[in-house]
Subunit: 426 residues, 2 copies
């Protein structure tokens, strides 16, 4: 079978998973968890093979290692996902069109998710568990550095699923980068593509498919310290994102400072940032206040440093800060520090981003922290799901209408019977 | 300015509309309605110019005429749209992350809608009124047959809007087909494209843009008459769709008949269809029962006739009917006639379409009939809005989080403070 035919098989066979009960899906999840323990030796051997490759950078190695600790964390994660409320069949709207003629909109699985993810074996298990719980088939392509581990994990999952009531036709692991191209052109068989990885890769995916894509390429986030900010709070919040995880998509790349507080705040925050090893790229006014900062270069404002570096830029007003954010940002997460409630609300209304915060760190933009249970990614798209995406972003809906032989002819023309159009409780 | 620059201007200037109050938008709507009356003479002259073109087919002419009756209908429509509930800022979710640290998700406009529509001047007014109410900028391209009328309507609307608090920077009318290409590549400035028109055109749009598209190309809808159908009801429902509006996207193209009722039902429905002038394309069994039907040809099952023609096909089970629909249909609207409630539910679960009906006509698939107030189109996409799309399909959402200096560092690591993650009433 070609890759396209295999993907088509997944589409066809996922119908059984979509039609399964919550109990069936939870049982499948628990047998997947049990299977990972049963197959642990094979998984460890495969992981050792991946780790034996020469010249793995330390950051990749730490993501690649699939330790007992990580295994136990993903098994705990599977159990948490199985306890999330079942969304299949959930009634979203109900309306009476006429007496005994009821329209409803219910939540249904999207169909098949195409997921491309980084070299993190634990991500594979997390994604599969969300796919199972939401009733979606899944076509996976993981980072090539983790190929053997991913194959061992997928083999274990498929073995567990084979014995389940829903079978294992709903999952497919692709192994080569070329096969991603087959995924991007599988219109009709793949309903949503979720790419994770480098900005270049995600942008490539977004430009090369007409299948809906959920995710974000860059995370160019801002913190605006307003004229009405509590400056010591501002300094703590400004320093929170970068050091904890410099490459995080929700870490700030540019700190915007209102001119009226620049001379008091910038030296203060510069000291705090310097202590954490953060390099400052400053505009003219910042460089005058912090002589060891790197002078601003064209393009810095649209850059995601993915490192212990950030821009500091002085602005003259809330308006200028919002315009800067809407122009140079990536519509991901932006925050303001202000004691003026009305100013905070104006900022939240005017900034066109998925997450707009007042008086807290941008790094709260995260499915777990938001209380979504788990996360497949963070979307900067404005259609479907926006911001951190959990189970609900993997659902579509359908409209059901049940009658007794109603004809449109009855409700049309001169003597048309009127609709009642009465909203009903869910 | 180039077209791209003009579209970018619309994006920039729509921010004012997005930030406007419901009162401001309703005032704008009422001055647009008043303006259409004030400018009526100019509109009539422009419409006469369009109607003076040689060789306009009668069907196009009847859509093209902008009579006083149509004007009054659109003015009534504007008033109805202004009375719809305001969705901007509507709270969709609320969750406590920690004491006094509240996350909410609110409804916001998408930004700018790119709309390509058929030669129906009344559609322009309807679309503009939905754009205004939802706070979205709009880039319009109407059918070229209606060019002068559209220009007169747009000029009137822009004149009315110019005097309003939100100005008229949020609307742009494109006039040439080539400019549609500029729309399809305006990523970042256009947030959603809604194409209406021929299947070929809509498919072209869907294949040639990476901007999200809302709509449907073909409407290949089915009615399945089950073994447990009330056959006289089935016959009435089968005849309802085609004659009322043969080219409607929600009219059935194939009537599937369970073998157990075929010999009694098919002659019955054939007579009823023949009376309405509907031509039958039949499979072997149908042709044996209805000798004057046209024998099935390869490809008929995937065809949208857009005329007084349909297929009749005998199937041996509910399963076969559902497989046929999921294989050959366009995932738009499909219905079953059955007196068996469980069978109806199985059909509604198993058919992968936007609208799945029991015991009623497929032509109920319509924004007005669904009680959505008005409709921009019917979506067969599974992400964002599915089925008839009203105001809510023109909305996105954003997450707001307001705190008192909360840091992610506090909620991370060994002594992490736990989140409360408590759902709050809306």
């Amino acid at each position: 079978m070609t890759i396209k035919e295999q993907i088509h098989q997944v589409k066809r066979q996922s119908a059984r998973l979509a039609a399964s009960s919550n109990e069936e899906r939870n049982e499948l999840l628990s047998s997947i968890a049990k299977g990972l323990l049963d197959d642990w030796d094979a998984i460890v051997r495969a992981n050792a093979l991946d780790l034996s490759a020469p010249d793995i950078p330390p950051a990749v190695r730490s993501r690649l290692v699939f330790s007992e600790e990580k295994r136990d964390a993903v098994i705990k994660g599977i159990s948490e996902v199985s306890h999330l409320p079942d969304l299949i069949g959930k009634v979203l709207e109900r309306r009476e069109l006429d007496s005994c003629f009821i329209l409803s909109r219910i939540s249904v699985p999207l169909g098949v998710i195409g997921m491309v993810f980084e070299a993190r074996p634990d991500a594979l298990v997390q994604i599969v568990s969300l796919a199972v719980k939401s009733g979606n088939g899944i076509v996976l392509k993981g980072g090539s550095e983790a190929m053997h581990t991913n194959q061992a994990l997928a083999a274990s999952i498929m073995k567990s699923a084979e014995k389940s009531t829903v079978g294992n036709g709903w999952i497919l692991l692709l192994t080569s980068r070329e096969e991603v191209g087959e995924m991007l052109t599988a219109n009709g068989d793949i309903d949503l593509i979720i790419p994770r990885g480098s900005n270049t890769f995600v942008s490539f995916v977004m430009r090369h498919t007409t299948i809906p894509v959920l995710g974000h390429s860059s995370g160019i986030c801002h913190l605006y310290v307003s004229a009405h900010a509590n400056l010591s709070m501002a300094s703590l919040v400004a320093v929170d994102p970068k050091p904890t995880y410099p490459a995080a998509c929700n870490a700030i790349e540019t700190l915007l400072v209102d001119r009226s507080v620049a001379s008091s705040f910038i030296p203060l925050v510069a000291t705090a940032l310097r202590e954490k090893g953060v390099v400052i790229h400053g505009d003219k006014e910042t460089c005058a206040l912090v002589p060891d900062s790197i002078p601003y270069k064209d393009g810095d404002w649209g850059k995601e440093y993915l490192a212990l570096e950030l821009n500091i830029h002085v602005v003259s007003s809330l308006e200028e800060a919002m315009t800067h954010i809407n122009t140079y940002g990536s519509h991901h997460t932006d925050a303001i520090i202000t004691e003026d409630k009305a100013e905070g609300e104006t900022f939240q209304r005017g900034v066109d981003s998925a997450d707009v915060f007042v008086n807290c760190s941008t790094r709260f933009s995260d499915g777990y922290r938001f209380g979504l249970g788990a996360e497949v990614g963070i979307s900067t798209s404005k259609v479907h799901a926006r911001g951190p995406v959990g189970l609900s972003g993997l659902m579509s809906s359908k409209w059901l209408l049940s009658g007794h032989g109603e004809l449109v002819a009855t409700y049309t023309g001169k003597n048309a019977r009127p609709f009642t159009h009465k909203e009903l409780p869910l």
